[in-house]
Symmetry: C2
Subunit: 364 residues, 2 copies
């Protein structure tokens, strides 16, 4: 086994999820991530946890099921729900044999599935969870890289000094936490305002995502106004949506479009009412992720990018006792901020063309 696989497993178990004796751990991973699955089962056992290996949520077996099911017959899976309720730690390791496997599933089935599966998703979010990526050949292909190159890319992005990264990101957290109105402008296609007043900004330093490297919050749901063109491709369950466009009024999507796979975007927005509202504003800050790889887990962390997610807001971003936008889905979409772009907080420019005001070379 590649020693980097065992290091990856150790970061997951010790840094991300801090597995302790007696923990009931679910390892959710497909066959393409077999080495990491084995390393995780070993590492969890060594720390006194009990690993139970299940299929990854969106793998070939799920595609086989959803490709043949009547969407109207779908109901909440009580067995999967019971597993999630009883789990202390949930480790999702993505890896593909074919990244387009889910494309055989009709959009309306996916929408119905997301709806019945949202209770399971919520229970998993209540565990100590992490989502990570194993560098399988099909994922390398999807990133337009050789497998060796991609392995290096993935394990470099994951094997960072997370304490130093956390400190760097904390500067942006403090700006957003103190701020109220956020204004994001890119070229003449994106001009968006929203309030983040009293909301909490999260410093993503390797707890829930590996790689990590972003700061994010939930905007005040009705405050989002303006238009945005996501000039980075949106990759969703095997489909690539290009140039997704959204226009917001009073926090709600009132117009949308795309130059490719617009129907996939429509299906996302039609999941439920909350899918037409913003659940997350995120700012990518991981400069080791220096290229777009058609994988949101990495792409949304890229330096020089901002992303919005339609759908469910993370509770941690909200003031105590307040609940945010609710939805069965959560889909991130990315704007390139490297040129002709800025972020303003309460009228002050805090990032221009990708460089933050607390970084060298910033030009206010």
């Amino acid at each position: 086994m590649d020693p980097r696989v065992r290091e990856h497993a150790e970061i997951i178990v010790d840094h991300s999820t801090e597995v302790e004796p007696g923990d009931n751990v679910v390892v959710s991973a497909p066959p393409a991530a077999e080495d990491l699955t084995l390393a995780l089962c070993e590492a969890v056992g060594e720390r006194g946890g009990f690993p139970f290996h299940v299929s990854f949520r969106m793998d070939k077996t799920r595609a086989a099921f959803l490709g043949s099911v009547d969407p109207d017959a779908l109901d909440v899976p009580d067995h999967e729900l019971a597993l999630a309720e009883a789990a202390d730690v949930w480790i999702h390791a993505r890896a593909h044999e074919n990244v387009s496997e889910m494309s055989r599933v009709p959009g309306e089935t996916m929408t119905a599935f997301r709806r019945v599966h949202s209770s399971v998703r919520e229970e998993i979010l209540d565990t100590t969870w992490v989502l990570t990526q194993y560098p399988a050949p099909a994922d390398a292909q999807n990133a337009e890289m050789s497998t060796e190159e991609y392995e290096e890319f993935v394990w470099s992005a994951i094997g960072k000094d997370w304490a130093a990264q956390r400190e760097h990101q904390q500067q942006m957290v403090e700006i957003l936490d103190a701020g109220d109105e956020v204004h994001v402008v890119s070229g003449d296609t994106t001009d968006l305002t929203m309030s983040v007043e009293d909301h909490v900004t999260i410093n993503d330093h390797g707890k829930n995502n590996l790689p990590a490297g972003e700061v994010f919050t939930a905007p005040v749901v009705d405050s989002v106004e303006g238009e945005v063109l996501f000039d980075m491709p949106l990759v969703h369950e095997g489909h690539v949506v290009e140039d997704a466009y959204l226009r917001f009024e009073g926090g709600e999507v009132v117009e949308h479009g795309a130059t490719k796979n617009e129907d996939v975007l429509s299906d996302i927005l039609n999941t439920d009412e909350g899918a037409r509202r913003v659940g997350e504003l995120g700012i990518g800050m991981n400069r080791d992720i220096d290229r777009f790889t058609y994988n949101t887990l990495f792409d949304e962390k890229m330096g020089d990018t901002v992303h919005l997610a339609v759908g469910k807001a993370y509770d941690d971003c909200l003031p105590e006792g307040e609940s945010g936008n609710d939805s069965a889905t959560h889909v991130d979409m990315i704007v390139d901020m490297s040129e002709d772009s800025f972020i303003e907080v309460d009228g002050e420019i805090v990032q221009r063309n990708g460089t933050f005001k607390f970084e060298e070379g910033f030009e206010g």
Copy 2:
């Protein structure tokens, strides 16, 4: 996909487990059974059930965990238990990349695991469950057959006319149900008596095992007396025990031995108190299984054989309200009855040299 895989999945879903709309189905299978896993997820979905795919109970991931864990730290896995409690149907599909994978796990760890895992096992036995085999190359190798030959062997044994087989077996069920004392003699190495008075004999025609093809009951636990040499190899978690020998007094094993891997047999018997007592007497009746393949699921169904299991008795074999031998384990061991052998029930010979009294060629 080989069309025989889809036929196999259909027998499992329609004959063995009768999946119905709304059923919460667990598909427990390793990567080596991927085609069958996909066919099962499709078939379950088509019938309105919800399949959830998890690792097979004894696959590589479990070996990785159990190979590294401190046996004293093992505790009941609440998450796996919750899944089993909430499942309606549990489909186990065996398949190996290497049948010796579990041999890296120390015997005392296996014993500790069986003990903490017995509550999960009991919950699974409370579902509508089936155990089957997918003909993976390593399993063919273990059977000393080419993969093509082995596929034919497995799918012929599974694709039988189960209604006709059931009828044939019912004749032996009636003999045992009406009988009291069973006497099994083979050569000068096996001479065993036990009572089956008031106990129930099960006709195994493809509900819990695929292939099926045996009748079995639980003996009155204290009634087992005499000695038995299991001249068919005992294959247990990657180890082959040869010429396992047991001597019983008052239902309990008072002496045991083997010519190879005796320590594996000792570990089995030391699991707990119930592991030294008999939980099952079975008679193999599937004449399509015409060779020993180092796989109990098939070997115990062979014509011309009898098997005993030490450990847990199946509740279905006991009179209403009575509970049988309890144990965290259940291990079958097989006696060749093809030569110099007979089975007597209440003094009447009902099988000689493998031929039953209701079959042609029987010589009382």
